[in-house]
């Protein structure tokens, strides 16, 4: 284990990542703060009541878009010959390099988003302090109420998107964001088609748990008519399938993709075309 992970070496790798990306991190905080302020400004325009709601609620979506871009490019050095050699020849294990990137794009990015929101709130508060009342901007700028967000849901979505684009960043060489996006759409479309096909099969009887799904072929009732009872079964089945799919997407998929990403990175270390 010590060979795979050593705290001193890990900290060195962590420091290297921070030192090499500090400008990018500052740019990200600045731009996210700017977007946060801008959205606040737009959200308060009386002529755009609908946008107002989206303006406030939309910040997590912006942060998610940032996350997707950052995460998918977190292993971009593997796409450049010189940077790849620098990365691979660094006396640190693949596991340590992987964990460093993982922490930066999960904990690091969450801290970065909170910093941006905090910074924008401080700017707004300072503005209010300097211009207490009556100004045009006083009406336009209001502090956010981020504590109203459903943080569990945001976190779940973040983890799911992180795992998909983190894996894509390792798996694809060049245009990793676009390729991951297309692959994700393809998989979702296939899943959608599969579920739609399930929807139009009104022949299930006694199918109520996810485990019964495995025995679907055994339980087809060829003489069944479409009845209210069978419709209720279908709805119940759909709910079950939906629950299973959500369980997989939010809990199993991230772990699966993170593990797969690490294995792929190990393969990448000795792949051809370095």
């Amino acid at each position: 284990m010590k060979r795979q992970f050593e705290i001193k070496r890990f900290l060195r790798t962590f420091w290297r990542e921070l030192a090499l990306n500090k400008i990018n991190i500052l740019i990200m905080i600045a731009s996210l703060t700017f977007i946060s302020l801008l959205m606040n400004l737009i959200s308060q325009r009386p002529s755009l009541p609908k946008l107002g709601r989206y303006g406030i609620d939309g910040f997590p979506i912006v942060a998610l878009i940032y996350c997707v871009i950052i995460v998918s490019s977190s292993f971009s050095e593997l796409n450049f010959s010189d940077r790849k050699i620098d990365f691979l020849m660094l006396p640190s294990t693949t596991f340590e390099k992987y964990i460093v990137k993982f922490i930066y794009t999960t904990v690091g990015f969450i801290l970065l988003s909170i910093s941006s929101v905090g910074l924008s709130a401080i700017i707004i508060e300072i503005y209010h302090y300097l211009f207490p009342s009556g100004t045009l901007f006083r009406k336009l700028l209001h502090s956010y109420y981020y504590y109203n967000y459903n943080t569990d849901r945001i976190f779940q979505n973040y983890i799911m998107f992180h795992s998909i684009f983190f894996f894509g960043g390792i798996y694809f060489r060049k245009l990793e964001l676009g390729k991951t996006f297309l692959a994700a759409i393809g998989i979702m479309a296939a899943l959608g088609i599969y579920l739609s096909v399930l929807n139009v099969l009104p022949f299930f009887e006694n199918v109520s748990t996810p485990f019964d799904m495995m025995n679907v072929s055994m339980q087809i009732n060829e003489n069944a008519d479409l009845s209210l009872k069978s419709w209720s079964k279908i709805i119940e089945l759909n709910r079950t399938v939906k629950d299973v799919v959500i369980l997989c997407i939010y809990n199993i998929l991230p772990i699966f993709l993170w593990t797969l990403g690490f294995i792929r990175l190990q393969e990448n270390e000795v792949s051809d075309g370095v």
Partner: protein
């Protein structure tokens, strides 16, 4: 010691670049790795450093296979590619980032090397010119004090005085524990530095000899008249006559031109092989 045993590798499995390659590199030497474009020089350096995985066979440093890429090995191998990556940081920041990974790194030597190579250390490294970046990377590679230093075309982009300084620095860095492997096309830059000389052609080591042995077996002379076919091992038309590489019959000391030697080995490989393997007249 680096030992390459029965190693096969190709970027495509059907088209092998190296087929059962065997090579031993001993500590205390500065190996010159020569070859035409596409001969496999850089690939061999990558295989030695563990960046590429051979289809068959292995490459070991001491007892450990380099492909294991464990941190103890990585600490002892420095691979400087032709175009190395330097981040947009200042020199002292670069040292703060990278030197902890190399426990034997010698800062005093590093700054001395930079001074010798006339590099200013004030601004960001990325503001340096291509040649200056190369000098910076070379200085870092030498100061890292790793057991194995693999340099791919290290003199490309260096100015004329720097090439001379480079030779001095490398010569002063070598000791009984270190192995240098320098892949280069600039053989004149490496004169009086590389020894032994390894020549690769089509993925094969077609020549691997020490300079002393080469000078014992071969002699170089210049003459105005074109030599007879059996008089020379190899000859080239030069300004004012012919440069002739022939067997050294009288055992006199002479200064071999590596470029001429390379051309002779590639063009008359069988003859050269016979001469060096058996010592018989060709």
């Amino acid at each position: 010691m680096i030992k390459i045993s029965d190693m096969s590798f190709g970027y495509r499995k059907k088209n092998l670049l190296f087929n059962n390659l065997n090579l031993s590199l001993s500590a205390g030497n500065i190996y010159g790795l020569l070859g035409k474009n596409g001969a496999g020089k850089t690939t061999l350096l990558k295989l030695i450093s563990g960046l590429l995985y051979p289809h068959n066979g292995s490459c070991s440093l001491g007892e450990e296979k380099t492909i294991a890429r464990n941190t103890d090995l990585l600490k002892e191998i420095f691979f400087l590619p032709e175009n190395s990556f330097l981040p947009a940081v200042k020199t002292h920041e670069y040292l703060e980032i990278y030197t902890p990974f190399y426990p034997k790194f010698n800062k005093e030597k590093f700054f001395q090397y930079l001074k010798d190579l006339e590099i200013e250390t004030n601004g960001k490294i990325t503001n340096l010119s291509y040649g200056q970046k190369k000098k910076f990377s070379v200085a870092f590679a030498l100061a890292a004090e790793t057991k194995v230093i693999l340099l791919d075309e290290p003199t490309n982009g260096l100015d004329i005085p720097a090439k001379s300084v480079f030779r001095k620095l490398v010569a002063s860095s070598i000791n009984e524990e270190k192995i240098f492997v320098i892949s280069t096309h600039q053989v004149r830059d490496m004169k009086h530095l590389i020894d032994p000389i390894i020549i690769l052609d089509n993925g094969e080591v077609i020549f691997n000899q020490q300079i002393a042995e080469i000078e014992r077996k071969l002699s170089l002379r210049l003459q105005r008249e074109e030599p007879e076919e059996n008089e020379a091992l190899y000859y080239e038309n030069t300004l004012g006559g012919y440069a002739i590489l022939s067997e050294n019959h009288d055992g006199e000391d002479n200064d071999i031109d590596i470029e001429l030697l390379f051309n002779a080995v590639v063009a008359k490989n069988e003859k050269v092989k016979t001469l060096f393997n058996t010592g018989v007249t060709v």
